[in-house]
């Protein structure tokens, strides 16, 4: 920390400034890709959790950087300090990514979810990220690609705010089965799905989607993408919003594929090396950040899953005390549905 002389801070209170810097976890970068900022979680908790949720009926929040502009064009009523309201009427509201702002209620929307969806489509907002409360009790639904896309369901009535391997692994499983294998996501991952040719940035895409998925699911935790350490950047770091909880989880993500994006065959030895690097990275980053656990999350994009590539990685993980988690990515809906049905 640079040494500041008190006299350079004018009339500011030095100790209050030092205290406020400890709250950096409250804010995400302005260009963060998640559909909403972490402060919305408290609002969802307040409105949707518990045996008698505040919200009765469909409450749809449509996220936009220009909520007021769109709202005024649709003749919306302004609801000031929306996130602070103890009671909210069902309906569809345009809101910003930050929960501290106002909202604009689309006229004619109501407690009926079907009606609300029709109104959203008619208003030209079907493609905007949305969150739905009041439809599935004790849950909120996240629709990152809009009201007609995939929805992720998040349970607000979690028994505990702590995180452990079982809970984190469950979230990773749900993400892989329900979200990574959806028809909408498939378009982001494959150049030529029938021939198992992935996009060059598939691994990066998975990382971004997982960031959003974990952010929305882990309401009591922060998920930080690529925080830098003295030895480089790790993929994802999960830590509690409670500053007294020291547990941190390091996630290193790797995709294994049969072909490169140009169609060149990838050899098994290079895949093994790729995963071996991942084990080393996860181990080293865990030591550097004082992590409770380190995960190597392998996303298998090959035609034939599992096999030697995974088997050869297992002993390395065991030696380094890195938890290996393998998730299959399928190239078509039929296979994905079949596999999901057996789980």
């Amino acid at each position: 920390m640079t040494t500041f002389r008190a006299k350079t801070l004018g009339g500011a209170n030095f100790s209050e400034l030092a205290k406020v810097s400890a709250r950096a976890f409250q804010f995400v970068d302005e260009n963060d890709i998640a559909p909403f900022e972490p402060d919305w979680h408290e609002v969802f908790d307040r409105w949707g959790a518990g045996a008698a949720p505040v919200v009765q009926g469909s409450l749809v929040l449509i996220f936009s950087d220009t909520a007021q502009v769109i709202g005024s064009s649709l003749g919306c009523e302004t609801v000031y300090q929306f996130g602070m309201k103890p009671q909210i009427e069902p309906g569809v509201y345009l809101v910003s990514k930050s929960a501290t702002g106002n909202a604009w209620r689309i006229p004619g929307t109501c407690a009926d979810h079907q009606e609300n969806c029709l109104k959203i489509v008619a208003s030209g907002l079907a493609g905007q990220s949305a969150v739905v409360l009041g439809v599935r009790p004790g849950h909120f639904l996240v629709l990152p690609a809009g009201i007609e896309g995939t929805s992720w369901s998040v349970n607000l009535n979690c028994l505990s705010s702590t995180l452990d391997d079982a809970i984190l692994t469950e979230h990773l499983n749900v993400f892989a089965i329900e979200n990574l294998n959806s028809a909408e996501t498939r378009g982001d991952l494959w150049i030529d799905a029938p021939n198992w040719i992935p996009k060059e940035q598939a691994e990066r895409t998975i990382q971004k989607l997982l960031l959003v998925g974990l952010r929305t699911a882990l309401t009591k935790h922060l998920v930080i993408p690529e925080p830098s350490t003295p030895i480089g950047r790790l993929d994802l770091l999960v830590l509690s919003k409670d500053p007294t909880d020291p547990d941190r989880y390091v996630l290193e993500l790797k995709a294994v594929r049969s072909h490169t994006s140009t169609g060149t065959v990838v050899t098994p030895s290079s895949m093994v090396t790729h995963l071996s690097d991942g084990v080393d990275q996860a181990d080293q980053y865990r030591k550097k950040v004082g992590g409770k656990a380190a995960y190597l999350c392998v996303y298998d994009m090959r035609r034939v899953k599992g096999g030697d590539v995974i088997e050869k990685t297992k002993p390395r993980c065991a030696t380094a005390d890195v938890l290996l988690r393998v998730f299959d990515i399928h190239n078509n809906s039929k296979t994905a549905r079949k596999v999901a049905a057996t789980v």
Partner: protein
Amino acid sequence: MRNVSIAPSGEGANFRRFWILALLSGVERGGASPIGLRHFNLMAYFANSVSRCYEIEPLDPTILKERGGPLYPQLMWDLDRLVGMRLVRVVNLVIAAEGRARHVSYAITLDGLNHLKLCSELSDEMKLVANSLTSASLAYCRASRGISVDSMQTKDANISDPKFGNGDVVDFGEWDNYNATANAVDFVKSSVEPPFEENTGIAVNLYAQYLAKASEVAL
């Protein structure tokens, strides 16, 4: 960079109006539209004082310290011109019995956003200025429930500096390069501990939180 003249028309006026649109863009993005005139003036001062943190020149690096808080008559004039140009709209206008405006709020329009985008594309400098001001106003808006004239007078590093009394001109870049508010933001930025990184936008947000009353800001 540049010192902008206070002439009501001409090149200086165009830049001031671009400056205002950039601020209102951040207000829009933060869902805080419309913004009342009192908060607009506080926010304009906030943006001026933290401009150095974003490596841009402030529009006006001086402010008269007075009991009613920061006031920018020239910007208010330009704001009304933007309303006439339909780049900003008036909301919640309340006229007092004697005919003057008792309360008024402003919000950027779609035309205003499009105009800002075109101006930002003119040069890298314009883009940097637009992005920086949007970031600063977004930070202000997140904490605006707790920021008041009183909190600015008593907590802001520049204005609350005991060497300035009411009626004095607080200079933070015109003749005097010393900017205590920017120093305070830099201090917060350097105090952030890993795994969080030193980030100007987040440091400005934290400084805005410091200005606000804690009870007013929390959800």
